[in-house]
């Protein structure tokens, strides 16, 4: 199979109350991603936008940004969900042989949205929605189940927040770089038991763009240093209703990871992967998903974390960017992770560079409590 490379990346600075419109944010990252790739818009023949009508408050939300994504006169389509899924569709379109250089671009303005109302609409309209359940309260249920199943403590989750906000100190794009302690997290305002304010990702505005190209074009258009290959990908969905799942069971993630590892030829993920950007919208998610990704046994994520495995200088640095806990523009999250992995592999991650990176992992989720996962392996 022909390989696909990421040859250009750009991210906005992640902020709150960004004054730019959706179109302006998209224009900015699209232009810079093309610049990063060293190509012009004329060399792009299609665009995948990642966009959500709910978050944008606008039907056909991708309509508002298509011109600024340089899609005029080109084949454009829209994936609604996490950026990792948008990248997947970009890769499919290239591998189909129909398209060459592809832009994948995502935008999000959390501060112009109503998080509770929008995520409440992801629940069953007849029964669950009436309860007022949303992304935060459902995550609290998952955190509680995870704690109960493996006898975990809130303080262990707080460690994730300490680590990732600390990592963000090295990332000039992050919204909340902070030096905090477990005590700070424990003392922060309780949002939905057992989750406190500092266990939750902030409402964020931002955008990110990737430029993808098939092997032949990638080699023509970019230098070896710029090319980062998409080596493996897998996605999988679990049951819809929270009650139909054991929320501490990561079977869908395991299936997605298995597919991605098989495609990339990864046998021992902890050994072979040098850095991971994992979806950590809530602190407990990082150890839970790391278990699903096969970096440790089920229920052992927190212990590995305590032993420093996933620290910036640990065996497997996880979320050196500061993760979603330090900036979480919802649709953009996965693309931001992929962009961070690209920078790490290129050795261009600045102060947050974790050393030499050959293989990196990015992970995004769709739906509540990680109903659906998309796992990417990237490499030189």
């Amino acid at each position: 199979m022909e390989k696909v490379a990421i040859i250009g990346v750009a991210q906005s600075k992640y902020e709150q109350n960004k004054p730019e419109t959706f179109a302006e944010m998209v224009y900015d990252v699209t232009r810079r991603a093309l610049e990063d790739a060293g190509i012009t818009k004329d060399e792009v023949d299609n665009v995948v936008s990642v966009s959500s009508d709910f978050w944008d408050g606008r039907t056909i939300s991708s309509m508002a940004i298509q011109d600024s994504a340089c899609a005029y006169g080109k084949d454009i389509t829209t994936v609604e969900g996490d950026g990792t899924f948008g990248c997947l569709y970009g890769m499919m379109r290239i591998l189909s042989g129909s398209f060459g250089v592809t832009i994948v671009v995502a935008h999000h303005k959390g501060t112009e949205s109503n998080m509770n109302g929008i995520t409440n609409c992801a629940f069953d309209p007849l029964v669950e929605r009436k309860l007022g359940i949303d992304a935060v309260s459902s995550a609290a249920l998952q955190a509680r189940r995870y704690m109960t199943k493996y006898a975990l403590k809130e303080e262990q989750f707080a460690l994730v927040s300490v680590k990732n906000h600390g990592n963000a100190m090295r990332n000039p794009l992050a919204l909340f770089p902070m030096e905090i302690t477990v005590e700070d997290v424990m003392n922060s305002r309780r949002i939905a038991d057992p989750l406190k304010l500092l266990d939750c990702s902030p409402v964020t505005d931002g955008a990110a763009a990737l430029v993808l190209a098939a092997e032949r074009q990638a080699k023509k258009l970019s230098t070896r240093k710029k090319r980062v290959w998409l080596l493996g990908v897998g996605h999988c969905s679990d049951a819809y209703r929270l009650g139909d799942r054991d929320l501490a069971d990561t079977r869908a993630l395991k299936a997605a990871a298995k597919r991605a590892y098989a495609m990339a030829g990864i046998v021992d993920p902890l050994k072979e992967i040098d850095v991971a950007e994992v979806y950590d919208a809530f602190s407990y998610m990082e150890p839970l998903w790391l278990e699903g990704l096969g970096f440790c046994e089920d229920g052992m994520g927190c212990e590995y974390l305590e032993r420093g495995y996933f620290n910036f200088d640990g065996k497997l640095p996880v979320n050196p960017s500061g993760g979603r806990l330090s900036a979480n523009p919802v649709q953009v999250a996965g693309l931001a992770e992929l962009a961070e992995c690209v920078l790490q592999i290129r050795g261009e991650a600045g102060e947050r560079q974790v050393g030499e990176v050959n293989v990196a992992l990015a992970h995004g989720i769709n739906g509540m409590c990680g109903q659906s996962h998309c796992v990417w392996i990237l490499g030189r």
Binding site: D53, T78, S96, N366
Partner: protein
């Protein structure tokens, strides 16, 4: 390079203004079950699923997640694509690219809509720019009325030309057991029906339907094994226009011209009127069945009314259009364009029942949506 892909199964619900007997997920399950039956497969044979609709219509966020039970997507790869009115063709194209990429062998594309539970026009109104254009271009009928008015003025097309198209599609629907609106109407009936927005009258315009459609795509090796006569995908192309309605060209359809020209090039078609055996076109109003014929390169600009009057596009004409009854007979919006692909596939597969056009070798399907998005898919009996 990519794999060749064929459609091996199609399923759709019986469409109605109100399907009170089924929830959205149940409608999806109905279409999915029928598509699996049509292809003689079980859900175990499906490697991945794509779904789409418009969030604000039924107010469901993460439709791909919500619909897992109806889709049969439990522990399967599933994701959502959405582009407004063209969602159906977008979903179909995504199913096609899933297979053509070589990442998946058998993929199901699903579109659905339960309009009886939504305020469609209010939701559509939010697609235009909130400060500049939302007040002027609210809803779907206004822009279509504007474009046909301008076409009438430019080329002497008439209200009656549109009525001929309306009567044609509505009478074709009598042969389609799945169609929502099945009534015999005359050109006279159409002209006498209530005016909605000049020159579009009630019987010129599409209804809002409840329904769903599922189309199964498979890579060449699998398709040959699983299906006696797959409908092979020869081309799938999308073009869109400017963001603001005020920037659009109104007397012809630039996006449809560009998309179809590219698709014809890919499929090696030089004389579309002659080479296609049947077309299932997304015509949201009968007026589009006049004006847009130019833009599909069936004739020169302004010549379409002549072809319409001659009956070129009737069931017994040179190129039968919309044997299914088309969009003005059935319109579950997120599924509407996918039904075009499904019906075109059935025509190629010889499975279109009473609405079958004889010996279909090449079929054209289109999608249309907000901001003049145009999608074109070409299906053929021979491998591309």
């Amino acid at each position: 390079m990519g794999k060749r892909v064929g459609i091996i199964g199609v399923g759709q619900t019986h469409h109605a203004a109100k399907r009170l007997d089924a929830s959205g997920v149940e409608l999806i399950a109905e279409a999915v079950t029928r598509a699996l039956d049509d292809a003689e497969l079980t859900i175990k044979d499906i490697d991945a699923i794509v779904i789409g609709n418009m969030d604000h219509f039924e107010n469901i966020n993460y439709v791909d997640m919500w619909a897992v039970d109806g889709l049969g997507a439990f522990m399967k790869p599933v994701f959502k694509v959405t582009t407004g009115g063209t969602t159906g063709t977008t979903v179909g194209a995504c199913g096609y690219y899933h297979c053509a990429s070589g990442l998946f062998d058998v993929v199901m594309a699903v579109g659905w809509e339960k309009n009886s539970e939504s305020d469609t026009q209010a939701a559509i109104a939010t697609c235009s720019n909130p400060t500049l254009e939302r007040d002027f271009f609210a809803g779907a009928i206004g822009p279509l009325a504007t474009e046909y008015s301008m076409y009438m003025k430019a080329y002497g097309a008439t209200e009656e030309d549109a009525a001929i198209v309306a009567a044609r599609d509505r009478n074709n629907a009598l042969n389609n057991p799945y169609a929502h609106s099945r009534q015999a109407v005359t050109v006279e009936d159409v002209l006498k029906s209530p005016m909605l927005s000049y020159p579009i009258k009630f019987l010129d315009m599409c209804p809002r339907s409840d329904g769903a459609c599922a189309v199964i795509f498979a890579v060449e090796e699998k398709a040959k094994k699983l299906c006696p006569r797959p409908a092979w995908v020869h081309a799938s192309v999308v073009r869109h226009d400017y963001t603001h309605f005020g920037d659009l060209e109104w007397t012809f359809m630039p996006t449809l011209e560009r998309a179809s020209a590219e698709a014809y090039k890919l499929a090696g078609i030089t004389n579309p009127l002659k080479e296609f055996d049947v077309a299932e076109l997304y015509l949201p109003a009968s007026t589009c069945g006049v004006k847009w014929m130019d833009s599909l390169w069936f004739c020169d600009h302004g010549e379409a009314p002549k072809l319409v009057r001659k009956g070129t596009f009737h069931m017994d004409g040179e190129l039968p259009i919309n044997p299914s009854g088309g969009v003005i007979s059935t319109n579950p919006i997120g599924a509407t364009a996918l039904i075009r692909i499904g019906e075109a596939a059935w025509q190629v597969m010889g499975k279109a029942g009473a609405r079958q056009v004889e010996n279909v070798k090449l079929a054209l399907a289109t999608g249309f949506g907000g901001c003049s998005w145009s999608d074109v898919m070409i299906l053929g009996a021979e491998l591309p």
